[in-house]
């Protein structure tokens, strides 16, 4: 469907940008610069211009609006005050501090341990996949491999790599990274993250991170839809088990 390599490249760049953004939201605390940009008038204008028939895109827009509105309506005070409030919310929802705040924090093995399948060694599978993709977590992060932020950032990395390969005309490598993405999306991210997002949305009141989670859900839905269109690519990986990464 997509024609020129420039288009392909632009698409993987956009996807990398979105994944990078989402990963950052889970891995780091929002800072003043970010909050200021989010509150900027032109962002508001752009958001208002969007209207979409696609459920996933409108969910993303709702999410971004929700993030914005939580700041505009909810937290009076300076940008620093807003950042602090967001940091508290981040800690509450994502650090597993208490049990009464909302759904359990976003770890894949936590959300999949009640699945009916036989193998529940998700951490091992992930470690193995990261090895295969030659991806490593920077040591200062000290996050578990199945944390949503890590999985999103892995997708960011794979999209980046795909875009770079396309840029230097290496279609074989580009296809390799595309396949890795499809595999990871279907075997991991899509297998649990939407469920996390839905339970988060249903269990928490409107707020910044509810918006973030809506954004994630919308984007993953869009990714799933795109994956379906590229089903030729993903087929190879989907049905293989033992030799799953061999191409």
């Amino acid at each position: 469907m997509i024609g020129s390599s420039a288009e392909v490249r632009a698409q993987s760049q956009s996807r990398a940008a979105v994944y990078g953004f989402l990963a950052w939201l889970f891995l780091k605390l929002p800072d003043v610069d970010f909050v200021a940009r989010l509150l900027a008038n032109d962002v508001q204008d752009s958001l208002q211009l969007f209207s979409s028939d696609s459920e996933s895109a409108s969910r993303m827009i709702d999410g971004l609006n929700g993030m914005r509105l939580s700041l505009v309506d909810g937290v009076p005070g300076t940008l620093e005050d807003m950042c602090l409030a967001l940091a508290v919310e981040h800690t509450r929802f994502l650090r597993g501090v208490g049990r009464a705040y909302g759904p359990p924090p976003p770890y894949e093995s936590l959300y999949r341990s009640s699945e009916a399948g036989e193998d529940n060694s998700f951490l091992l599978q992930l470690t193995e996949f990261y090895h295969h993709a030659q991806a490593a977590i920077l040591s200062e992060s000290a996050e578990r491999v199945d944390y949503l932020g890590i999985e999103l950032d892995l997708m960011r990395l794979l999209c980046d790599e795909e875009s770079r390969a396309t840029g230097r005309g290496d279609t074989i490598q580009a296809a390799h990274f595309s396949r890795l993405q499809q595999h990871f999306l279907h075997e991991h991210l899509l297998a649990w993250a939407p469920r996390y997002c839905e339970s988060f949305i249903s269990q928490t009141a409107a707020g910044f991170y509810r918006g973030v989670v809506q954004l994630v859900l919308g984007f993953l839905e869009a990714e799933a839809a795109m994956g379906d269109r590229h089903s030729d690519d993903s087929q190879v990986l989907k049905d293989s088990t033992g030799q799953v990464f061999e191409e």
């Binding site: 940008a17 028939d53 940091a87 501090v97 009464a100 000290a142 890590i150």
Partner: protein, 887 residues
């Protein structure tokens, strides 16, 4: 569908306007290739407060710890490991851990308040703490206090070096009001604790404690198992038929909190009724023969100032070390320079005559005949007069002893009781000889002072007086073990306690002063009042919930640590193997850190550097040199920053040789040497004729008189105390001190008691949150997480097994739980085992189940032993039903 594509692209570019950062945390690394491996590492266990010197083998599969088991190369634990140690995996993998530094955003504090934690960077956390403490240090360093608990054990760089370098005297402990078990041995044997030689002992009376089985401790349970096979006779005096009582020859049930009366009666029977004991030991190895003046002090030779004894052969008084002494008068009163002077023994004999077994029976419910029989068996079993030769050295062979622990020693009257245990063991001559009651540290412990008597050491050395006192009022209670309960009172009302300043900051490490002491409500109120609390935290416990900054610490298997063999707590029953070992355990991390944690020792170093007292003379490095006695090339350069690992390395090399630095401990958990059998006994270093044990406690009298003088110089009394009662605890002969609640009405008809269980032993390492230990206790042991009552007592009260009951203490405080009726308990006792029923909604819900014993405890002045600080750990209680089967 190009629209959707372009829409996504538009959205992406919008997002790039909001957010445009180069990269995340994942990176390409071609070296990251899968290498599934199984490896084993060695570590040292610290899952309980036992300092049991157990090392462990840790199996790691693909980076995941899959097994923690005993280390067969360790001669002490011999490949064994208790249930707690084996549950260490869940100490590592625990979702309730604090995973990153946290800052409180809700200024209101309380256990009902959400702290509003916000995750912060280590940089922000450390700079916030450093700035706060730096200001206090410049202004008045006393306004900073540090509180340490057993969770922070095995330390390399911590409070004992950090605080003097900082300049504050306010070193608090989170725990200890339930376990001052140190005074008697510190005074009599010059050691921090005592241990029992079960290699040779043949008759062992345990009062209010366990030699190991009650907690399944790895080494002493094994040692005792061997001793039982050999035929040791165990007598267990306990209101509860414990694990140990159940395997003993005899269980003597006793009314809780009354064992002081029992041991006074034992002493009386031996001295006054039977008159059979180790006379030679009493004459040559104790101060029982010293002549005592009218003032209670040793009568001294006017020329030399040395204490006098009476030589009945020559019929004159001589100094205790006179070479011409032909014999010592143990009993009697003698005319010396116009004064009539009794021997110390005579004074004791007369003082204890009132404590008849019948009198004791009325208090303890132990039949008088039983007391008389135990007194006789105890002396008979001691083989008085026999010797044993070990490695060519001849020792007295005295295989009989009385041993107490928290249940008997760590409470109101417990300091006296500890001394009485020592007196009983002196009567059979079993102190520091094969088969007997041994001091925990070996070497110069028995060094005598100028009066010929063992110099008091450790907690028997009074804290020097100063005014105003430190915030735990240690100067008012100079032989205290710990006084966190006093610190809270001071924090809440400094003026009442003559403290001219308010505490401005508290640092807590490894302890939970709210759940592990008496009066949780008072501790909460005090912590809420302290403006700034920084907590090196493993989980979100109650203390963490009241803190301002949390600094997350690694789990045990992620940490460095050091523990010398032969020192430390609860060494319990020991066999020859354990007695002979000297050496050290050290731990290096066996797995990478899971979360953004930092070892406490690193935090102290970092803070010292930032605040500005790491370097130079009097700095932290300097104090570390002194603390670890670093020598020669191993000394720290005063102006260099070292890592925790480097300091550990130097401490090891300096004491144990260059080949035994940290590298040695990558493959081993313990370094040890075996000394000769003889060297394991302190009487080897101080044989007969070189030192004497105190049978009469002149030093205690002196300590009291000094305190009285110091107080009167400042025109003070101890706030809140009835001073007449206080002085009753500073007498040279232990005596019955009654109960602190004499005024209590009959309605409070039971005495609460508490014990450790094999799964939950001294509350550290989050044992109560450990799911394996919880499962074990739940599935196998009907006596945990419940409130126990004697079956007939329950019937009289119309209560049934399974009822929900409420327990209210005479001192105030209450707890609730499910009743378990049992025949294993004295009819007047109410058992609340373990340390459960915690309050914080942030911690593992498993820790909230069951009753909380400590909520029944109080530590108001007049209710704790003013000598060692032990509280009334058997408070009177009443029980009522709140629900259940018959409700």
């Amino acid at each position: 569908m190009p629209t959707e594509h372009s829409q996504m692209t538009d959205l992406a570019s919008l997002i790039q306007r909001i957010f445009n950062r180069p990269s995340g945390v994942m990176t390409r690394d071609a070296r990251n290739t899968a290498t599934p491996v199984i490896e084993t590492r060695v570590s040292a266990c610290r899952m309980c407060g036992n300092k049991a010197w157990c090392t462990v083998i840790v199996t790691i599969q693909d980076g995941v710890v899959v097994k923690v088991e005993g280390d067969p190369s360790n001669p002490i634990s011999q490949g064994k490991l208790c249930s707690r140690g084996q549950a260490a995996i869940f100490n590592l993998y625990n979702p309730y851990r604090v995973k990153a530094p946290m800052r409180r955003t809700n200024p209101r504090k309380g256990l009902d308040q959400d702290p509003g934690w916000v995750e912060i960077s280590w940089e922000e956390a450390l700079s916030t703490v450093a700035e706060k403490l730096r200001k206090i240090r410049m202004n008045d360093p006393r306004k900073f206090a540090h509180m340490w608990g057993f969770g922070g054990d095995w330390w390399i760089v911590q409070h004992e070096a950090f605080l003097p370098a900082f300049g504050t005297p306010n070193l608090l402990r989170s725990h200890g009001v339930l376990c001052p078990v140190h005074y008697g041995c510190s005074l009599v044997q010059g050691t921090m604790l005592d241990k029992q030689d079960v290699e040779y002992c043949q008759y062992l009376v345990t009062i209010g404690g366990s030699l190991g089985p009650n907690i399944g401790s790895t080494h002493s349970t094994r040692a005792l198992s061997n001793a039982r096979e050999r035929g040791i006779k165990l007598v267990v005096v306990d209101p509860r038929c414990s694990h140990e009582a159940s395997i003993a020859h005899e269980w003597i049930p006793i009314r809780p909190g009354t064992d002081l009366a029992f041991v006074l009666a034992l002493l009386n029977v031996i001295i006054n009724e039977n008159g059979i004991f180790d006379e030679r030991f009493m004459k040559l190895r104790t101060n029982a023969v010293y002549l005592i003046g009218e003032d209670g002090y040793y009568a001294k030779d006017s020329a030399t100032g040395k204490p006098l004894i009476w030589d009945p052969v020559d019929g004159i008084a001589k100094t205790f070390d006179d070479a011409t002494i032909k014999d010592y008068a143990l009993e009697g009163r003698y005319q010396v320079a116009g004064r009539t002077l009794p021997t110390a023994f005579t004074l004791v004999k007369e003082a204890v005559r009132q404590y008849t077994p019948e009198w004791a029976e009325s208090i303890t419910t132990v039949p008088a005949a039983t007391t008389r029989r135990i007194a006789r068996e105890f002396v008979e079993a001691a083989h008085i007069g026999e010797t044993i030769t070990l490695d060519g050295v001849v020792f007295p062979f005295r295989p009989a002893l009385v041993k107490g622990e928290r249940g008997s020693l760590g409470k109101w009257g417990g300091a006296y009781e500890h001394l009485l245990h020592k007196m009983l063991n002196m009567l059979v001559g079993s102190l520091d000889v094969p088969g007997g009651d041994l001091g925990s540290e070996t070497g110069p412990a028995l060094k005598p002072g100028p009066d010929g008597v063992v110099m008091p050491k450790k907690e028997a050395v009074p804290v020097p007086f100063k005014y105003p006192p430190d915030i735990d009022l240690a100067q008012f209670y100079p032989n205290r073990h710990t006084l966190p309960h006093m610190a809270w009172k001071v924090v809440l009302d400094p003026a009442k306690y003559n403290i001219p300043y308010d505490l401005e900051a508290l640092m807590i490490y490894g302890g939970n002063p709210i759940t592990n002491n008496s009066n949780p409500d008072e501790a909460v109120a005090a912590l809420c009042k302290i403006p700034f609390i920084v907590n090196i935290a493993y989980i979100y416990d109650e203390a963490a919930q009241l803190s301002d900054i949390l600094l997350p610490e690694p789990a045990l298997l992620e940490r460095y640590g050091i523990q010398e063999v032969g020192t430390g707590h609860f060494v319990q029953a020991q066999d020859a193997n354990m007695l002979q070992i000297t050496g050290v355990l050290a731990r290096v991390p066996v797995v990478p850190k899971q979360f953004q944690t930092r070892q406490a020792d690193d935090i102290y170093l970092e803070l010292a550097e930032r605040i500005g007292f790491l370097y130079g003379e009097g700095g932290l490095n300097d104090h570390l040199n002194r603390f670890w006695k670093l020598q020669g090339p191993h000394m720290l350069d005063l102006d260099k920053r070292y890592s925790t690992a480097e300091i550990l390395d130097r401490a090891l090399k300096s004491k144990f040789g260059v080949e035994n630095g940290i590298d040695y401990f990558h493959d081993a958990g313990i370094y040890y040497k075996m000394r000769s059998k003889a060297e394991a006994y302190n009487s080897f270093y101080y044989p007969e004729g070189t030192t004497r044990y105190a049978f009469y406690f002149e030093h205690l009298l002196r300590t009291g008189d000094m305190l009285r003088q110091n107080l009167s110089e400042h025109n003070l009394t101890i706030p809140g105390q009835d001073m007449a009662k206080v002085w009753g605890f500073y007498q040279p002969i232990p005596r019955w001190v009654g109960r602190p609640d004499a005024a209590a009405c009959d309605e409070y008809d039971l005495f609460a008691m508490n014990w450790s269980t094999p799964q939950f032993r001294m509350h550290n390492s989050d044992q109560t949150g450990n799911p394996l230990l919880n499962e074990l206790a739940d599935e196998t042991d009907p006596y945990q997480f419940v409130i126990l009552m004697n079956r007939e007592t329950a019937a009289c009260k119309g209560l049934q097994d399974g009822d929900e009951v409420r327990v209210e203490a005479y001192w105030g405080g209450c707890t609730e739980g499910v009743l378990r009726v049992t025949s294993l308990l004295h009819p007047d006792a109410l058992g609340v085992p373990g340390n459960h029923g915690f309050k914080s909604s942030f911690r593992n819900p498993a820790t909230r189940k069951g009753p909380h014993f400590n909520s029944l405890l109080n530590s108001a002045e007049g209710t704790f032993d003013p000598l060692h600080g032990g509280i009334d750990r058997n408070p009177r209680v009443k029980v009522s039903r709140v629900g259940g089967k018959t409700a």
